[in-house]
Symmetry: C2
Subunit: 354 residues, 2 copies
């Protein structure tokens, strides 16, 4: 590494460097099957049981803003994004550890709200909140969640298993979270302007947010798709590759292709857009597709599956086939509604600058 700041190295450059430095330690744990590079680490507990483990850090002013994130929602989201990583391995979540750094001036009631939200989500997913750590913070809240789940060697879905010809599928609808965030940021601007001008801020203005409710909920209170994992396990479906959509459809599809050594082709017309994303995009003179491709934080599942399983998923109302895996040489492309080919790999930073 050089003396250039991390900001220049970028997130993926940094992760690559860290993976390189950790690599020599991986041989130490005999049972370790996958280290850094997937949604979870994979550890072999026995012949028939695999453990998956993931951890995520949420930093105030980087990942959330208390001006528009109710603490109960924040607690729920902190757990959900980790459970979503467990689900992305086709695994069932079991327990979680939660560490939290708090400004000492924060009211105890705020902590109660946060943990209530977390405990509520834990109840929905059947996850035990089994331990953690508390610390003072010098500036803002930091939440670190580690989630642990279980699956079997037959059911495990890595990012690296996609094969040429596989269908590319997505759950739910995309773009809602990014659209909701755009609305929330506008509201924040209005609020801050009012405060700066010493004008009274009319709380009732928030009533107008009702029409954006669906999208805002996608952003503040996302759900991990453990229901899809239950469906897979019931139906005996094992995706050849899977990831949860946290960076945006474009980036996350490229993660699968990079690890699988394949290309991909998806069709714009098949991408399920969140209904609110459309009218919010119109209002902001934005392209709704951008929210889905580059927005991220939808926490839906993106997976690939052999075509022989088409009948199994065709009947599920919340799974959409959006394309297919192609040879590596063909790249990662999308044909738009006019039939034009767009190279998704050329937009590495996501679609925000598309």
């Amino acid at each position: 590494m050089s003396l250039k700041p991390i900001a220049e190295l970028g997130e993926f450059g940094l992760i690559e460097k860290i993976a390189e430095l950790c690599e020599p330690t991986l041989a130490a744990a005999e049972g370790l099957q996958e280290g850094i590079g997937d949604d979870c680490a994979v550890y072999r507990l026995s012949e028939s049981i695999l453990q998956v483990a993931t951890t995520d850090l949420l930093v105030e002013q980087v990942h959330f803003d208390l001006l528009y994130s109710p603490l109960q929602h924040l607690g729920s989201k902190a757990l959900s994004v980790n459970v979503s990583d467990v689900a992305a391995m086709n695994a069932k979540p079991r327990y979680a550890l939660v560490s939290i750094a708090l400004p000492p001036s924060l009211p105890a009631e705020a902590v109660e709200q946060l943990y209530k939200g977390m405990a509520h989500a834990a109840g929905l997913y059947g996850v035990a909140l089994a331990g953690g750590d508390t610390s003072a913070s010098k500036s803002g809240i930091v939440i670190s969640v580690t989630a642990v789940g279980e699956t079997s060697p037959e059911q495990l879905a890595l990012r690296s298993g996609a094969r040429v010809g596989d269908m590319i599928c997505v759950t739910g609808a995309l773009g809602g979270s990014a659209a909701g965030l755009q609305v929330l940021m506008r509201e924040k601007r209005i609020m801050v302007e009012h405060l700066e001008n010493n004008e009274p801020y009319d709380k009732n203005i928030m009533a107008n947010l009702k029409e954006y409710q669906g999208a805002i909920q996608c952003h503040l209170l996302p759900s991990a798709r453990t229901d899809i994992i239950d469906y897979f396990h019931r139906e005996g479906i094992t995706p050849s590759a899977m990831i949860d959509i946290s960076d945006g459809l474009s980036q996350d599809l490229q993660h699968i292709c990079r690890r699988s050594g394949t290309g991909a082709h998806i069709e714009e017309g098949r991408i399920p857009l969140h209904p609110d994303a459309r009218h919010i995009a119109e209002e902001f003179q934005h392209d709704a597709l951008d929210y889905a491709l580059g927005g991220g934080e939808d926490y839906q599942l993106l997976f690939t599956l052999g075509t022989e399983k088409f009948q199994n998923i065709a009947t599920h109302p919340d799974i959409t086939v959006i394309g297919k895996i192609t040879p590596k040489e063909e790249g990662v492309n999308m044909s738009d509604i006019y039939g034009m080919q767009i190279d998704l790999a050329e937009h590495k930073a996501g679609f925000r600058h598309f």
Copy 2:
């Protein structure tokens, strides 16, 4: 909870509240044997294998100061304090997940140093660095480590198992870390004063620190006592209760007594003091015993054991018997070198204000 700030509630009050809020989720994970309240959560993997898991948060300016913490040491310590919690369950560490929030202006080289230290320690403990998360930080470095280990139902040592009559034992020597920290803080003050007065700071002055080297190393580069766990497993010793000394001997002994429903009696004259703690205490006109009782961060093991096992530990050069477990009514006491009885429970905040 009330609207009073967390600072008023105190760390232990906060943990109690959080445990209460998380309690309803514990039934969710069938295999969960111990939730919040011990060094690790305990999860039953099979009839014969228990998993233990712990997580710790290190926050810049709260837990460490880069002015005197080399980043390699910091990386090593971040892992060691978690492995120490695993050891305190009489378990062997297996893998760890590491999350880190970094100011974007930090040079990439700094991250390399941090992970080099971590990877080096991981190598010593046989721990795989299996995954993690990276994030930007708005102020200072935050490191969150989760460590996972394994033991058996027969070998597991909780805080709650001490029985009246058991010996109270401690590994290594105590007080080195707190003594080292006192020296480092004085050096920092001198450095800051020089900078504020625009005087050149002579780096060679640090050469004087050589005579404090042992204590400083205790603070900056502590080791988890996995060697003791290996010894226990080889000899078939299972402590009736165990904890690692992170809050100071007084607090940590009280943790064992509270969870076990017992009292304890220790003798000042038997407490093994770090040799550097004595001469540093003299220089600072401090009581060396304070460092051991209230200083904390020694990461030695404090455990209880039935007297029938006395022969097994009497031969170990690094284990000292310092007292015995008594009935609850007798409280947690120490007789000093003059034979006076001191009630340790009256000094809840540790011995800094003793």
